[in-house]
């Protein structure tokens, strides 16, 4: 029956991994948030936030995150307020008219399009997905996202589908890691992308920006991760002691039973 447990758990992995549409296996990066003791790197999250607001935010929303949450990334409340103030939100004023006001800490990240239809209309009839949960909504999330952002390139010379040579149409791009290889999103991070990075940190290369924005989106998808792992270690220690104590009691109570 030990076998049955092991197999049961193996099943769970398999159910997730069984289907991979035609795409390369994502690169395996090391992340500060990996593992039992994993933490987010605040400096990296702040760089990632910059990449998101400068590049991604023109098409992708982040609506599950509120501006107030940016304090968790290490911004001061006034810095977070400044990020919010770059956007406007609608508000019903006392006279019943809809007025614009600057976004504030209490607001969700303002999405680039007023609704899904507008987003689709502006993007070849396919709305760019909201990025709040993208890292959790993809298999092997962070590695996949990083690979995707750095996986653009020219299609192979002998690229074929069903035996016939295949070509890209306008508005299509080749990406090694995207299922089916054809992606509508143009390369978001290139050598020309200019994101203002702190002087005492790493240079904003494509790889670095991809890595930072991935880390930021990993935080956006699971902001409670640090709390969870910290609590988890305490719970495991408590349970180990609990099990130890009850093992001794169990053996004592049972010692005269034959």
């Amino acid at each position: 029956m030990r076998l049955a447990i092991a197999a049961g758990l193996a099943l769970a992995t398999l159910s997730a991994a069984a289907y991979a549409a035609e795409a390369d296996k994502p690169k395996s990066e090391s992340w500060s948030f990996d593992g039992v003791f994993g933490r987010y790197d605040r400096a990296q999250l702040q760089r990632g936030l910059k990449v998101y607001t400068t590049v991604c935010a023109s098409c992708h929303g982040l609506r599950q995150v509120h501006y107030r949450n940016l304090v968790e990334v290490g911004l001061t409340p006034s810095e977070a307020k400044a990020v919010a103030a770059q956007k406007e939100v609608d508000e019903i004023a006392d006279d019943g008219q809809i007025k614009k006001r600057k976004a504030d800490l209490k607001d969700r990240f303002v999405s680039p399009f007023p609704n899904v239809q507008a987003a689709a209309a502006a993007n070849n009839n396919k709305a760019p997905p909201d990025l709040s949960l993208i890292v959790k909504a993809r298999e092997n999330g962070a590695n996949y996202l990083y690979s995707l952002l750095t996986g653009y390139g020219a299609p192979p010379a002998d690229w074929k589908e069903d035996g016939k040579p295949k070509k890209l149409d306008t508005g299509q791009h080749y990406n090694k890691y995207f299922p089916g290889h054809v992606i509508a999103m143009s390369p978001p991070l290139t050598a020309d992308t200019s994101v203002e990075y702190p002087k005492d940190g790493p240079k904003p290369t494509v790889e670095q920006m991809a890595k930072d924005v991935t880390a930021f989106l990993a935080w956006a998808a699971e902001p409670s991760m640090e709390d969870r792992k910290r609590t988890g270690i305490k719970v495991m220690l408590f349970l180990l002691i609990f099990v130890g104590v009850f093992f001794v009691i169990y053996r004592r109570v049972w010692k005269d039973v034959h």
């Binding site: 029956m1 076998l3 049955a4 447990i5 197999a7 049961g8 099943l11 769970a12 992995t13 398999l14 159910s15 997730a16 069984a18 289907y19 549409a21 039992v36 599950q64 949450n69 997905p129 709040s132 949960l133 959790k136 909504a137 993809r138 298999e139 999330g141 299922p179 998808a221 902001p223 409670s224 709390d227 969870r228 792992k229 609590t231 988890g232 270690i233 719970v235 495991m236 349970l239 180990l240 609990f242 099990v243 009850f246 093992f247 009691i249 169990y250 109570v253 049972w254 039973v257 034959h258």
Partner: protein, 413 residues
Amino acid sequence: MAMQPAPQPRWMRWVDSRLPIFGSMAHFNAYPTPKNLNYWWTFGSFAAITLVVMLVTGIVLAMHYTPHVDHAFDSIERIMRDVNHGWLLRYVHANGAAMFFLVVYIHIFRGLYYGSYKAPRELVWWFGIIILLCMMATAFMGYVLPWGQMSYWAAKVITNLFSAIPLVGEGITTWLWGGFAVDNPTLNRFFSLHYLLPFVIVGLVVMHIWSFHAVGNGNPLGIDVKSPKDTLPFHPYYTVKDVFCIGIFLLVFAAFVFFAPNFMGHPDNYIPADSLVTPAHIVPEWYFLPFYAILRATPDILFINAKLAGVIAMFGSILLLFLLPWLDNSKVRSANYRPAYRVAFWLFVIDCIVLGFCGAAAPEGIWLDISRIATAWYFFHFLILVPIIARTERPKPLPFSISEPVVKTAARA
């Protein structure tokens, strides 16, 4: 070995003389339990504790959840981000469902190995199967509540199964949906039933426990208790053993909750439901995979089309278990004394695992062939193999009593 009951305070005696509540609790304390129960017998208490955990976390989650197609997904994210320890509640609840099935499946396999379904415990077995069916319904409806892509499409696929029923199928499906598609009325009723069914399960668990407390526990030797020497009072012997084992179980449970909370989930369920985008592959949670494999493996059978046949086979695979006490009429309970049945049992375990893998794979090519063979074996096992073995096998000699083999081992040492 019976514990001397402590003298009761006056208020307890006052209550007991009117409603013997504390007297009944004393029954549980002193309940004579076979002294040879092994660790597989602790999985029942794991299931009980998990049920309590699910009820407590579920009731609190329901305080924060919004059962509406426009708000369900966001309300879950609000729980994850803004509710105090909401992430803990939700991850405990989501992983708790998987842990519940894990321990219940092991509990059932233990019953199959040690013949726990045989006289006089047929009712224990039956209540157990009804609990399993209720768990499946509850888990399925709970999975729909976050209203992610897998939630929505699972609801669609499973409710569509009922349309396979001849004549009334379409009507039943519309009735289940509360409309002409899976939509807000469907989500609302699933929430209502998801809240109701666990309390039905609590009632069934009471019946399940009551029905073996009347006839006594089974045990690994499969022989009846002959004398008080064969038993121990439940408390403190089995209470400490169960608490120790529950600690180990909670270590495994906590490892998932805190360090791999999404390991058993599907990433697609973090995408909000979209009726216009079908996921590349719709797969249920791992604990439904063997049944999903049976559903998809079944071909057209005579005049019955594949869809209806699949539905019949899937539900049949569980309903069949009700007949097990008569399919297997061997007087010997424990597989330890049934060499042929023991082999059949392990083959059946392997078969269920294979079915699980089949359920995860796309139903085409070699996987379809394997799932058909494995499905056939599932029914062959219960309908042909087990009855034949029961009627032809020569069991090994049984020990005289529970104390006897222990005494022998002690003498040899």
